[in-house]
Symmetry: C3
Subunit: 368 residues, 3 copies
């Protein structure tokens, strides 16, 4: 039997693929039903993200260690990237920036917290490799600091007409991409043994597809995600207003969770199998990748496809939330032990952030 069909049949998540045609048809029939379209688009993106993730891993597995690792690392946040690129083309820069900051916070508080909670409900105390976690959290901390330093230090705002904001963001983007390239060299070549335990391609749950099927799925699903993202981005503004959500909230919370859904499924499943090493490396590694690769790539892409260049200046509340999230999770993971309440508290912090952002979107006051 075709492995793709077999996968869809076995995985309950993939039954949600039915929402893909539904949302496309719905958009033709009722282009003004923004809230419905928004919800359908969210439901459609989740199974596509899961397929994308599986296809990427299969391609990576078939192309050997170095190329495969590179692919896995580069395409790991492909869903977030496609959504952000769509928003970029539409000029929705607040949504893009919020989704960058939100992805880091969501990966380091929500994904990690849920892993600790889910794992902790099954195991009394979970131990994981301290020095591996320490390495990941050190890299995440430094990546985040590099991304946020200009926003934290200089109060610039391109919207206000600060010409310097654009120049500084472009230089920063180049620095971050260089750092990302060196990071790949480090994790895939010179020190790959340090990241070996974090390898999750061998997860017994998932079958490795043949290269043709995998590559074909990768391309086809990318197109589908782009298609659905278009509907998502065009409906989100209006839907947000209806549901009382600001663009900042949608980007920070909704896009971040939807975009990371596939990785979360893998990380949660690993936590419930007492393989917290894998969960921690997925959560922290993905957050680092957003800071070092997705964010600067979007800035550079904005010169080509955006209505105008995007800068990397974040609003002050976002800087605070991202730094708090990263510092907290660096500190928590450096211990190498976890129990359910640690996860619950991380989720509480995430809930407090979400609540604050929902009630007080940036700009409603001059936030600190």
């Amino acid at each position: 039997m075709n492995p793709l069909l077999k996968e869809i049949r076995q995985s309950r998540l993939l039954w949600m693929l039915v929402f893909v045609p539904v949302v496309v048809v719905a958009e033709r029939l009722a282009p003004a039903a923004h809230t419905t379209l928004f919800l359908l688009a969210v439901l459609a993106i989740i199974p596509l993200a899961a397929l994308l993730s599986h296809a990427t891993e299969s391609v990576a597995h078939r192309t050997g260690d170095s190329v495969g690792g590179l692919l896995n690392a580069t395409l790991g946040n492909l869903t977030e990237l496609i959504i952000a690129v769509t928003a970029l083309r539409a000029g929705e820069y607040m949504l893009v920036k919020a989704s960058i900051a939100g992805a880091i916070v969501t990966n380091s508080l929500f994904m990690l917290g849920a892993c600790f909670l889910l794992g902790g409900l099954r195991y009394h105390v979970q131990e994981y490799n301290r020095s591996g976690a320490r390495l990941h959290s050190a890299l995440l901390l430094m990546a985040t600091v590099a991304l946020l330093a200009p926003s934290a230090v200089a109060d610039l705002d391109a919207a206000r007409g600060d010409a310097m904001a654009q120049k500084i963001s472009a230089s920063l983007a180049v620095l971050l991409i260089v750092a990302y390239g060196l990071g790949l060299l480090f994790s895939l070549k010179t020190h790959k043994e340090l990241f070996a335990s974090a390898d999750h391609s061998g997860d017994d749950n998932s079958e490795i597809w043949p290269i043709g099927l995998a590559a074909g799925t990768l391309v086809a699903v990318t197109v589908l995600v782009a298609l659905v993202s278009e509907i998502f981005v065009s409906s989100v503004q209006h839907a947000g207003e209806t549901l009382g959500m600001s663009p900042a909230f949608v980007g920070f919370i909704v896009v971040a969770i939807v975009g990371a859904a596939a990785e979360m499924a893998v990380a949660f499943s690993a936590a419930r199998k007492n393989r917290l090493d894998m969960s921690v490396s997925i959560a922290l590694g993905s957050a680092s990748q957003i800071a070092l690769f997705v964010a600067p790539l979007l800035v550079l892409l904005s010169y080509v496809i955006g209505p105008k260049p995007m800068d990397l200046q974040f609003w002050p509340g976002a800087v605070t939330m991202v730094l708090i999230a990263t510092l907290t999770c660096s500190f928590i993971t450096s211990g190498g032990r976890s129990a359910w309440f640690v996860g619950a508290l991380l989720l509480f912090i995430y809930a407090v952030f979400a609540m604050t952002l929902y009630m007080v979107p940036p700009g409603s006051h001059t936030p600190i």
Copy 2:
């Protein structure tokens, strides 16, 4: 002999109980002598706090593990709570908020620093249980972040007329209380072995009273503390002006130290017996409890007993001080070793905070 009288006879601290009638009488005779009343009230609260602490432990000890643990955890900061409730009723919200923030800072810098210094003057290097300290400091860090996130992210101020400040604080209070409840479940039920070494009810110094005496003392002393707190709160404003102290300074430093005096006595004595595990758990546990229990409880109580609801928005300098104190002491305690100079430096940071707050109370400029 009556154990209560025996205790009073043996403990020099309890001789200070004489200040209780003195302050009550003085308030009748000279209600305008604010500075004297303020000083007498401080002197009267200290021995009452010690009695309260002893009575709570005795009740806790007699009622068995779970109920006792619950009582101990809930009534551990009873003195702070009574003073804050009195200030709440008088509408002194700046004093209340400053005492919440100040109690966290005082417990994590002053109490811990003094323990390290006192212990270090007697022992060359003191070792304590790293993983226990790590757990306590992780919980404190997360509790503090959850408490402060709205203040750090959104610059709201109910006094300025931000309707949202109240709504967000009420929601936050409910979230924190839920987190506190789960924390009790964690520390008293599912993972009580992790907190076992921190048990300080078995301190050989103190005798366990019979349940009747203990419960009676608990009730009677609570009433006395409430009585003295009334005098304290009504005199503090004027006395502060005379002594050049702002309400923020009084709440942050004076109330915080007075309220924690009883716990400090226990923590210091443990440090001098080379039982730093106990000292660390008292200091950090008490600070966590302020963030997760006392602060939200006061918000909820303000709806019932205050002239108007209180919010949980802290002034920016308080947010900075609390976050710095918590991060620093999390970092320091994660090492599991201490020497006198570590304690001295923690006390220096506390002194710098106190000095700054004394010289530049919040509001004198727009603080960052």
Copy 3:
């Protein structure tokens, strides 16, 4: 052969001493060629700093453990101190404050990052003493927090006419000096065994000079550094304008790197010999000393030699950069292991700071 001449002959760095007469003569001939004078002064200070460092160590070695340790600790940042004193006399307070903040950031990000990178290029993974590093980073973190607390909490500015800024800075300076004195007692007397591994006077590369030569060199070179610093400080303003550098950038980056050049040479060489313990202790110890000794000393000196008293209020961006740098390097060094990419990321953060400061000097906007 005279050991001083032998040293100059052997060390390629000391050939640069030729720039000392060159810059002095150049200043006479072309006092208006500010950019050339600035560059020549930088080139002249570097070998002088190396000589100063060697002379200090020789004097320290000859005068025995306690006096020697005291000298080494006190004169370790002598070059920074002389440059800062010269700037102080000229009333260039922005330059002085920027060089204080910049020295902490440069030592904790640039020096440490370069050590990790240089060591990592030669050794796959380098291990160092965790508990030693933890002690140094704890002391650095606390010293920095104490130095910055007033700036972080109260938005005062003597330039704006806040009388309190001066008073608070003077009190802070006294507190810091007392803490420094206690720190010497701790590291040289009561707990010197904890700092023993950090002893770098026994570095096999350098020869110990006789006391007469060492003391004479110390005095003579101090005079030369003061002389060259005079030229440096008087040319830096104009040169900065020509090269597009603000006084904040020059102080934060240029003065900090030039002033620490000699220590860097020793730290880098230790890293390349796989003695990271020494590198970490030089970098963190020197940063602590800036916070606890150099900064308050300059405030106190400003009452004697400055045109008016200097305060210790730093601009908000400096506070953020110093705290981020200190927290990050505390976290990184607490692991006890390093590889090249860790160093590279620290250097990237430093580069981002430098870039931001170059493009957006403080004051160009109201920075957060």
